[in-house]
Symmetry: C2
Subunit: 196 residues, 2 copies
DNA sequence: CTCAAAAAGCAACACTAGTTGCAATTAGGG
DNA sequence: CCCTAATTGCAACTAGTGTTGCTTTTTGAG
């Protein structure tokens, strides 16, 4: 007797159709993004979407976790300043693309939707954690003292970019990313993120 | 024949009742905040609210503009580092209080509500502009070179605080505010915000 | 090929936000 | 005090989101 999940066949097809439809609609701005519209674009009944994902945020979260599983190349050029600059440019590219819209959509519904909050926070935490390697490498090279707070530094690096993405509606250009990286580098070198 | 607005009497009473009701409900978390609930708490019909403010965001924006009109004491201690630290602590206090919730609520609905976006941006732009005085004073004292980008520096100072307020759900404690200020000071002193 | 479980479709429904038309109230000049 | 315009209250209505019960289709093991 067949009991349990059903990973093959139509289920996967529906799942894929919904996710790609959501991706497509996301490009036109998430302001008009709705479960019913996604279902319609996917050629699927809205109940299927609701039953599987519960929420619009559920779909978006699923979409974001696809990006989360992608491997990102953490810069390792042998110099802290260059690494941080590369990192800032990397974050910038992510923000100006599709994941940027996803994060915006999820972050803005985070206060009202605990699951959405968890998804964004999880994504950022993971990415930030990976990025800490840049600081750790600098420590290993002796560029920074042992005990430097890598997490705090990465947070400081990313924050201005996120502020522009989510609140201030100003362009996140390369110049801006570079200057943000330079600011973080200067702060690190000045010992701001050393343990007290 | 009486033509025009009607600033006196019941109109103002209703307006005040709605705003104070909104303020009160905001303290219990804006997740459950809704126009109907506010109207009910104010002892007013919801149509009155909709007609006057159009939106929930309209009410919140009105509320925020009350704070915007309050005078904030920009620190001027004679030292850049101390000024920025005071400033960071000032921002922190604003965020942990009522205006913090207001800004969160408005910022999260900004992507879907252009008016809300405008209100938050206007508020922050104004506050940031005032804060630039701190950098300008340092320039006047000769602590920083002429032409230093005050706006960019203040943005860098505020960003990490806003990131925690809006996305990362970690405490915005004094220690964090102080370190953020120190990072910005270091970047300023290293000449990161000087014109190229 | 058969069949039971699982998933999807369908349609009706509940609920909430926001709108509209009309009646009742109120401000404030004459 | 009277009268007109502004404002509010009230109730019905629209639209869109999400839910539920049931039927139909599909999967995959035997």
């Amino acid at each position: 007797m067949p009991v349990g999940q059903r990973p093959g066949g139509r289920s996967t097809r529906v799942r894929a159709a919904v996710l790609t439809a959501a991706r497509g609609l996301l490009a036109d701005g998430y302001a008009e993004l709705t479960v019913e519209r996604i279902a319609q674009a996917a050629g699927v009944n809205k109940t299927s979407v609701y039953r599987r994902w519960t929420d619009l945020e559920g779909v978006l979260g699923d979409l974001l976790s696809q990006y989360a599983s992608e491997v990102v190349p953490i810069p390792d050029t042998g110099d802290l300043g260059t690494d941080l600059e590369e990192l800032a440019l990397l974050i910038r590219r992510g923000m100006t693309g599709e994941p940027g819209e996803l994060i915006t959509a999820l972050a803005t519904s985070a206060p009202r939707n605990p699951r959405a909050a968890q998804v964004v926070r999880g994504f950022l935490t993971e990415r930030f954690r990976l990025a800490e390697a840049v600081v750790d490498h600098a420590i290993a090279r002796g560029e920074l003292p042992r005990g430097t707070d890598a997490g705090a530094a990465i947070e400081a690096l990313g924050a201005p970019l996120f502020l522009r993405l989510l609140v201030v509606d100003e362009p996140i250009d390369e110049e801006f990313a570079r200057r943000t990286a330079a600011a973080t580098t200067a702060a690190l070198r000045a010992g701001v993120f050393e343990p007290r």
